[in-house]
Amino acid sequence: MELSRIRNFSIIAHIDHGKSTLSDRILEMTKAVDAREMRAQYLDSMDLERERGITIKAQNVRVDWRDSILHLIDTPGHVDFGYEVSRSLAACEGVVLVVDAAQGIEAQTLANCYLALENNLEIVAALNKIDLPAADPDRYAMEIEKVLGIRAEDILRISAKTGEGVPELLDAIVQRIPPPKGDADAPLQALIFDSQYDQYRGVVSSVRVMNGRMRSNEKLLFMQTNAVHEALEVGVRRPAPTPVDELGPGEVGYLIAGIKDVGEARSGETVTHEARPADEPLEGYSDPKPMVFCGLFPIEADDFENLRESLQKLKLNDASISYSPESSGALGFGFRCGFLGLLHMEIVKERLEREFNLALIATAPSVQYQVTKTDGSAMICDNPSDLPPTNYIKSIEEPFFKLNIITPKDYTGTLMDLCQSRRGEFDKLEYLSPERVEMHYLMPLAEVVVDFFDQMKSRSQGYASLDYELHGYRESDLVKVDLLLNGIVADAFSTIVHREKAYDYGRRMCEKLKELIPRQMFDVPIQAAIGGKFIARETVRAKRKDVLAKCYGGDISRKRKLLEKQKEGKKKMKSIGRVEIPGDVFISALKLDGRRP
């Protein structure tokens, strides 16, 4: 195929700014999908994606536009999945920046644009939703010009919903984004930028051929894993998978090579021919590292093996999940799992519950700490229960993130208060326009993961947006707060917090647990402690009375059945020492923990 006819691009947009609608419209206008077959958000194929209105996994599709062939490579729209964006960009020569004409550019979109610029990609900017009464394209065009240096008059104005301006956008893509370069006769170099597991076909990888040609039935060498697989099928998505004879330079498509585990066809892998290998692999990218950790425990102890199998299956499709067995005095056997971020954690938990029918308890999210012990040795700790006793700890370092918040200027004050209360260190504040500012902070990740995002959204009435990246580890004055029930540590509730916040945290957890724990046959003291020192205490008073009901009309059966039901209820209790606790207390307490002091 002639390289000059090909254009490869991604769409960068904030959640709800209309990326999926634009993708749908492009599919329709290029006649890739019949209007009758059109279902909203065609590319978001996972139910969860469609429900939450976000894209988690990258998808790609080939469409024809006039004499050109366009490869649209979809990108995820959430900060947790930023690494997927960088993968997608590696397969493109340009990006389409979509900005809501009523809201302006958001922090994460901006970060992704900078990423595109760093990769020397051409940016075609479009203001979307111009059909909305609140649209103010002139104003936001000026803003884009200021922050990205794209001239306001070059910014297109479209309505993905009505289709207005979309043909012009497609023309602009052809005119402004350069065609790919590559040598069809050179040894094959193809980049895998995404792999998904399909239960019938095994791993299906998205590939971008840089040089050479890739055909089915060829022996392919995966250069990083140094493994040889046979290409069973190569094809393109139009969007239905369509086998092709070959994929040449600049082309984007898929490869099926009989691989059972996505770990063997990782994103960033270079594929070449076994018979005539390339001299060196393409520049790959490093695997994303889990940033947020929590314990996942089955509510029914019998489900432990199911949970293990389910995690294995999920990992086939999402190599970024990490997990290892963990046992908790309070919750029994489960897994310590690592995630890219909070949304990722939520999505994994939800998929486990929905697709694998498991009832799970998640413990409070934690980050990874670097602990130096008094004997000079170092350890990594992502589970408060593993933290050594205070007198063995010399210092603890925690991950700090660079935070970038874009907000209408009216919310600057309240957001600065929020950042301050989360131990944020102010770096700088810039005006993007007279109305909007960009704030930069350094903040411990532990403070971000809890409910920073929700708080930011609620304080800014939804207008502020956030992007963050790892800055590095720094020493902080951190302590572990334990919660004791009737004198016994309930490990599921142990948390690492900054010393200044420990008292408040302990007090609030004690109050919450007092509300949640049913009265027992004896007084149950609830204590919060740092090391051996108690910092807060509440008491669940002993239960004094149970049912004193009347026996209606000799209905003894009912009385007996009520007691039997009560007996069943008791079986479902988790015991910590002698204290019996319904399973949902853990969920409720840990949920409430979202409001960290």
């Binding site: 046959m521 009375k545 149970d546």
Partner: protein, 359 residues
């Protein structure tokens, strides 16, 4: 097991439904009364022909038995063959009681009256959704006595919304002031599918009810009304036979809609509505709605659950010291039996659960 044989007769009609009541009673079916009483008589006759034993106790409850013409109610009672000295109780609404009515009852064989006092404090009665005036209670007790019925019970309820401990004390003082042979005091209980269940702000508080229970026991004991079952106090010798039968897993027959019955481990209950009951009885069919037959283990556990509520308690039997030590404050040993302490009476379910677990 209790050697006696009880008969329960259910009168499902009420002038007004109390909003805490979960029992099968109806406020709009008075036109059915005549047919219903006739069905009761037919049903009883059929059982008697089937060699029903002589009743050692009869309890006519509801609903509101006093809503039914007294003569006709006695017509139903006459169908039941009584053992000599049988206890025969009718549950009465204090507003309905008159000397004439009590006269009819006494002549018909009734020798015990149970009066639904509920509270002596007007705002508490209103909170319970009851309509009678507290001062009617004294008058109705006088009627009972004037008619020559010496044995009676006063029913009270504690824990209604807005009832203070002093209100409760007032009720208790009023009750013992009438010198009753027997008092039943029930904690207001939120039953599913009642008006009360839908109004959480009116739900009783456990600690408050515990305090009221303790006060009740104190006042009763001081007046020689001794606790013989968690919610029942009586002058010595005036314990309710019929009630005792239930707690001792005794046998009883049930007549009327929604009435329960028990015979040697088989428990059954009649259809819920009076219409259906009338229809089945008139068609010569059994009005039984459903039944359960208890296996030996379940029966044994049920016996424990019921008996532990009584002053006699349960046999020490196979319970280990460890089982019993765990409940040190809730039970005490009296010879070879385990009896609830007053704290244990408040937590009888908990104790029953543990005893059952240990069986």
């Amino acid at each position: 097991m209790h050697p006696g044989f009880g008969v329960y007769v259910h009168i499902p009609f009420c002038a007004k439904k109390c909003d805490y009541c979960a029992f099968a009673t109806f406020t709009d079916r008075e036109k059915l009364i005549e047919q219903y009483l006739s069905a009761l008589r037919t049903h009883i006759r059929r059982s008697v022909a089937g060699s029903m034993p002589l009743a050692t106790s009869v309890f006519i409850g509801g609903g509101t038995p006093t809503l039914v013409p007294a003569e006709e109610l006695m017509g139903v009672l006459r169908e039941i063959p009584l053992a000599s000295g049988a206890e025969v109780t009718v549950e009465c609404n204090p507003d309905d009681i008159s000397t004439a009515m009590m006269d009819v009852y006494r002549r018909g064989g009734v020798n015990r009256i149970s009066i639904g006092v509920q509270s002596a404090v007007e705002h508490v009665l209103r909170a319970l959704g009851r309509t009678h005036k507290p001062e009617n209670v004294r008058g109705s007790v006088d009627c009972v006595r004037e008619a020559g019925i010496e044995n009676f019970n006063l029913d009270v309820i504690y824990g209604a919304a807005g009832e203070t401990l002093d209100d409760w004390r007032e009720t208790l003082d009023a009750v013992v002031g009438l010198n009753p042979p027997h008092v039943s005091a029930y904690g207001l209980t939120v039953e599913p599918n009642t008006v009360l269940a839908t109004q959480p702000d009116r739900h009783p508080d456990d600690d408050d009810q515990a305090d009221k229970y303790l006060l009740c026991d104190e006042v009763m004991t001081a007046n020689n009304l001794l606790n013989y079952e968690i919610s029942n106090w009586a002058k010595p010798g005036r314990e309710c036979e019929h009630n005792s039968l239930y707690w001792r897993q005794g046998n009883y027959e049930g007549f009327g809609s929604a009435a329960h019955a028990h015979l040697n481990g088989r428990r059954w209950w009649n259809v819920r509505t009076p219409e259906r009951y009338i229809e089945l009885v008139n068609a010569g069919e059994s009005p039984e709605s459903a039944s359960e037959t208890l296996d030996a283990q379940t029966r044994k556990r049920e016996a424990l659950q019921l008996l532990v509520r009584t002053r006699e308690g349960v046999p020490v039997g196979s319970f280990s010291d460890a089982d019993l030590d765990e409940m040190a404050e809730l039970i005490q040993r009296r010879d070879d039996r385990i009896v609830l302490t007053i704290d244990g009476r408040l937590l009888a379910n908990e104790v029953a659960l543990r005893l059952i677990d240990a069986v």
